[in-house]
Amino acid sequence: MDLNSKGRTIIEREMRVEETKLGELASAIGTETGAQTASLALYFGPTIAGEKMLVERLGLDLSKALLGGQSYAWERPFRAGETLRVRVSVEDVYEKGPMIFGIVAAEFRDADGAVVQTQRTTFLERK
């Protein structure tokens, strides 16, 4: 991980909540409640721009990195067809013992600017 990546934006853009994507995730979950759950966990913030962008902006070495933590804070579920403004950024990067920790924050706002969901993701990478 690049210790200088703190504060870097991974992606900031508008995107539409696609019904087909909700369906794909519901299918992957494979339960009666999959569609409801998909409306809460449709996106994994760090890879919204694709994992190549994450690797590039965070300087992640995929062969040595693991996901250590993930949090979701929900104001409400996503709605099919709505447009969101998403911002994903590197909140912090620091060394601790033999590991490097990287925190990626993702914020999803609706067309009125109201927060719909926030995520915080912790990556661990062996030095």
Binding site: L25, T33, S39, Q70, Y72
Partner: protein
């Protein structure tokens, strides 16, 4: 809201992992390529951490509905592999996700309305 112990209905599968990769656009080879996973020290591919979390959240949704969930803050403690049978168990302030051997793979705090 009281959370009940509950099994995830089906074991984690490679097809499910591939479907999840496509749905969220996370094609990290550790989830899809056994050779890459072995080089990274794993016996095989592993499930995406967020997939494991999503399966746990799905059990919470089944118990209390999507509108009732306010936050889910998880630490991933062990990898999840294809064919693992997962279950959620209530603990103080949240849940633990365990595999078929009773090993905790995720510990999470949960807040509901």
């Amino acid at each position: 809201m009281a959370i009940r112990e509950e099994k995830v209905p089906a074991p984690v599968s490679r097809v499910q992992i591939a479907r999840y990769a496509g749905a969220v656009g996370d094609f990290n080879p550790i989830h899809l390529d056994d050779e890459f996973a072995r080089a990274a020290g794993m016996p095989s591919v592993i499930a995406h951490g967020p997939l494991t979390l999503t399966l746990a959240i799905d059990r919470l949704v089944a118990q209390c509905g999507a509108d009732a969930l306010r936050s889910f803050d998880a630490r991933l403690k062990a990898p999840v592999f294809p064919k693992d049978h997962l279950s959620i168990a209530p603990v103080e302030g949240g849940i633990e996700v365990k595999n078929q051997e009773g090993k905790t793979v995720v510990a999470a705090t949960v807040k509901t309305v």
